[in-house]
Symmetry: D2
Subunit: 292 residues, 4 copies
């Protein structure tokens, strides 16, 4: 399996009372992503509110996604568990149901040392043959991994083969590229940095944006790959405010509210997360109108 | 109930294989705290690895602690849950088993807005009559609450009555004191800032230090309250390196390793957390020797 | 010479057109500080707008201050020059006119390495027999010096004997105290941290506050030294908003505006610095009324 | 005058004893830049150690540079003065000697408010008809200007027409582009961010790199403008370590040491700045060898 291009992130639709996952609607969200020409699906990422699901719900979403996508494109399963034991449990489940890869981040309460993070990844790697994407997102996970350390893990941990970088610091990508001689594939995880990430050599872009704006992220990806600098710049700035806004206003809340604005009710995010308020919805609607 | 003085934090002893809580040893840890003359016990704080426990384990620890302390001193239950529903579930349980107060922090994956945090606290407050200590610790919880916002919650949310401040910024305490005319009780949650926190008007100090160094924190508290500036300074600097070290080397790991060095095996912290390595244990031993 | 207590900072009064120093008014500012019972005067610090003076003006102010104080209390001369050559020039001048000590900070355009800073201090030390206070204020000077590094300089550079710490981080003072066994005298340079600095062992407090609020800083200093915890706390919180405000609104501008509000026109600060605007003056007036 | 492309920054050669500028060697440095095909010369920037020159030296360098370049390409004069009066003095001089533009940054001791910065720029603008490039470099100048504020100045201050952004945050450039509809020209001032800056729409790149690596920066600029994504990426990564190294090791010191390694002795930087030490020179030599 060779991941690249646009990796689309579905949100997790909930029932009206917020107490269970609405799997039928999840299927429709996946349809939206497939129509947006994503090259892979990543279930249970930040956008999917994985951190807010019970174990039962988590497994339902993972299982349903793999079955629904049905091999059309690869499915990546996000893993951000506080204990290594639970990460192993979920990693084994991902393999069991037929997922193609896992995306593993060191979600933490205590700040973790590099020794602790290394052992976490290594233990998960030993529990599953699936390729592992190392996911660095200190804003949500509470720990930051340097390019040097992530490359060290890739060299030493059998199944660790890819990196998703979400700090928003383009220098991290330059370091990954330089230190690995361009040989370790890395993905952009910061929406409003997509243009420079792709120009810096990112093989793909992990994003929930296709949920709301169709294949425009894919068009941007293609423009860079086709060396059409002017078109890439134009496509990027067209999407820029939207890309920044869904990040700064809270990804799950923003995408769910956006779906609602487009007439597709996927329910609210799970509390303490709140849906966008009236003003934020209005601003989002303007952006969506400009992009449709 | 009027909390003040030293609030002691037990660690959570695990079985050899790390898969279950060792309640007998938890009882012994509580004995150590009682002998250290703490004025209250706070179960399931950071030191107690609450974030790494299953629901069953969490409830065992809460229940056992309340029963074991048996009314000798107040018992506070720490709550740091990702979903509001689970926080409510635990808050109700705390009341049910007879705890005296809850200490609630907004542990988060997504950064939470003030609206989201407010609703989280308000919902918990409406689910339980127990007094709530607002606990601000961005280093572990991922969100930071300003003094102004915490005081606003105290004014508006019925059971929110106290603050625990752990940012390490003494100015936060000055703001709390000034803006509330010294009327909202606040606790120090940053060990190596104890001297200035108490001088700034903190009514108490939340700490796991008594697990390892007996009543020395209590002596420091008393020296400040007795206006013995020189003695307070001397006691503080005596403990200073130790207080800083257990924080910077990871509280649960450090206290558990310290117990081991003192001949009381409480098991390792739960993975991905690791016990202190050889050099760190050596350094901790020197500090403990100097303090005994 | 043994510096301790309150070190008062005069502002530098300018003529109406802002193009020259008004020395007569400088004398009156010094009178205000003497009446406020300061234990020493520090000319040409931040408050004195030293960075905005020509060489001629700088020397006028230094010379006039030493002559005007006339040995009643020690005079410290601030030095914050971009080149080592100019710092040496001014240090020699300070000796020549009979100043008692110099306070030296590494004001910088380029970030300086520790080697560069060390050589700067060492070169100045070799050019003058005056004792040197190492002054750390990254907010104005652009470089930060760790406690460890400053103590290393004190051990290695002949005339470097004291530290003024202005980062606002109380831990720095704890480190200085601990690492030097309480033997290296350090001063507080962060007004709204005075209470904790003095409790942490600071031998003095460098402040322009006595320009506007008389001997209240001195009373606070005395209360801590007399081990009157309650009185110290009360005096500190009484001054707290004022102490924070003059720092956050710009020290020179705030003190000059304050003098104006009290009926003593010392001119505006030098452009690009602006005097406080109408609202800020109004707020300052309220604070001054509360403190008079 | 329409600035774009590579704006080359000469260093300021000093005499052996560091006490005067060596103008003949400055001429040779300018020759190196002209051979490197720079599109403009910017005298008295950070690389030129403008902050460390006396007024006489500063004027010598400005004057000599304009005369030496002799209209072949535009000459920009850097201005980073602590007082508005001195900035006006220098701005008038720049006009007098026939410079084409000034690059103005708010070098500061006290943090400046937006009102203070605005007045500083406006006063300079009123004193000279030369176009002004607003230069934002908080790392050296001590204050940070937001894209919004810089655009406000461009809208309101007559001669302020361009921006040089050196924070290292690519989002600043996206904001400038978006908020001005791509109509305000901005330059990259962060060497190791050149690739993404140019792709984001920067019209030029301000850099001292051509002093040491010839027209390679110009080749990179051209590759982006010619929409040759692959070649741009390859050229960028080829220069990347060097570009980062000269910034992180101190621009003036690194370029001067680099000239020395290439057999052209331009003297040391002015103290407290030190030349690169032995190891750093060795590393720089390796990089230069790889790029020649």
């Amino acid at each position: 399996m060779n991941l690249s291009g646009i990796i689309g992130y579905p949100v997790t639709p909930f029932s009206k009372d917020n107490t269970s996952v609405d799997l039928d609607k999840l299927g429709k969200v996946i349809d939206v992503l497939l129509e947006a020409k994503v090259d892979a699906i990543a279930a249970l990422g930040s956008a999917g509110e994985a951190a807010y699901l019970s174990e039962t719900e988590w497994k339902q979403v993972a299982d349903y996604t793999v079955k629904y996508v049905d091999g059309k494109i690869p499915v990546v399963i996000g893993l951000a568990e506080l204990t290594t034991a639970q990460a192993v449990n979920y990693a084994k489940y991902a393999k069991e149901i037929g997922a193609d890869a896992i995306m593993l981040s060191p979600f933490s309460y205590y700040k973790l040392s590099e020794d602790e993070i290394f052992l976490h990844y290594d233990t998960v790697s030993k529990a599953t043959p699936l390729p592992i994407m190392i996911y660095n997102n200190p804003a949500t996970c509470g720990v930051d991994m340097s390019p040097e350390f992530m490359l060290e893990m890739i060299n030493s941990i059998e199944n660790a083969t890819m990196i998703k970088e979400s700090t928003g610091d383009i220098q991290r990508m330059h370091k990954i590229y330089k230190l690995s001689n361009g040989e370790v594939p890395f993905f952009n995880g910061c929406n409003h940095m997509a243009l420079e990430a792709l120009n810096a050599g990112a093989v793909g872009w992990c994003t929930a944006a296709p949920c709301l704006i169709g294949d425009q992220p894919k068009q941007l990806f293609d423009a860079v790959k086709e060396s059409n600098t002017e078109k890439a710049q134009q496509l990027f700035y067209q999407q820029y405010e939207f890309l920044e806004y869904i990040v700064t206003s809270g990804l799950a809340a923003a995408v769910k509210s956006g779906f609602g604005l487009q007439g597709f009710d996927v329910g609210d995010p799970r509390k303490p997360l709140l849906p966008l308020n009236h003003d934020a919805r209005k601003r989002l609607l303007e952006m969506l109108d400009n992009l449709s």
